[in-house]
């Protein structure tokens, strides 16, 4: 009966509205906390997930009445988060990394996500939705 569960999933579907990003942060902080991530990692995860949600809301091109999907996959040693919108997608090759020393208001989001998470995959194209998957591994206990 009490077989061990190795993977659990929480899924949140939420409107494309800026005011709900803080709710997603609250959710992931609580999930990451209960998994045993430390404060630094939790802050990293909150920022990365917020960036992905902000992108879905700002760039997805969806109606505010439409929802996007955030999935949390909790495993023993890692948390995998996917953010999927069903919007217009984009051409990954057209996106440039921010140049150090240059002041540019835009283009920081994905760069920050990649810096803060251990692994990031983006699934997108110029007429399909975007799905970004990011993984944070629990550090070995020392």
């Amino acid at each position: 009966m009490n077989k061990e569960i190795n993977q659990e999933m929480i899924e949140v579907s939420i409107p494309h509205r800026a005011e709900y990003v803080s709710l997603i942060r609250l959710t992931v902080a609580s999930i990451a906390n209960s998994m045993g991530f430390d404060i630094e990692d939790i802050e990293d995860i909150k920022v990365a997930l917020s960036e992905a949600c902000s992108n879905a809301i700002m760039h997805g091109g969806c109606d505010v009445g439409d929802n996007f999907l955030v999935q949390f996959m909790m495993e023993k040693a890692s948390l995998t988060i996917s953010v999927s919108d069903f919007g217009k997608g984009y051409d990954k090759n057209s996106i440039q990394e921010p140049k150090p020393g240059e002041l540019n208001e835009g283009g920081l989001g994905i760069f920050i996500i990649k810096s803060l998470m251990d692994d990031v995959h983006i699934d997108t194209g110029s007429s399909q939705g975007t799905s970004i998957k990011m993984i944070k591994n629990l550090r070995e206990e020392s």
Binding site: A18, S22, R25, E40, E51, I57, P100, G101, E105, L108
Partner: protein, 126 residues
Amino acid sequence: MVVVIEEESTEKLDEYDEGGSLLALTIQKSYNESEEKWILVLEGEVDLYTADKLKEAVNQMLNEKLDDIRILGDRLDYIDSTGLSVFISALKKLQKEEKNIILANIKPSIKKLLNITGLDKIIIIE
């Protein structure tokens, strides 16, 4: 003649009690004559929802007087790229007058974000 601007204003987008746990953003700005700097106290979270309010406040300040902005971050819990963008566009205006943004007492997680984005080399972190 130096124009002296004295202003104190508090704008709240939303307020949540202890149980609600959601923090929004509180902005307090004032011009300090002796230091010749704007003092900006940020409390709460700067994200996609609250960044516009911050942008408005900063624009207002710089339109009134293009001078250094000293941000007190003791109670700034969270900021992401939407907030950093506000700083960056302010910096573009400030740099023309050789003015800057000074960030004081910020949390380690925010310092980390400034490192990653290279903003720590442009903004002054105290």
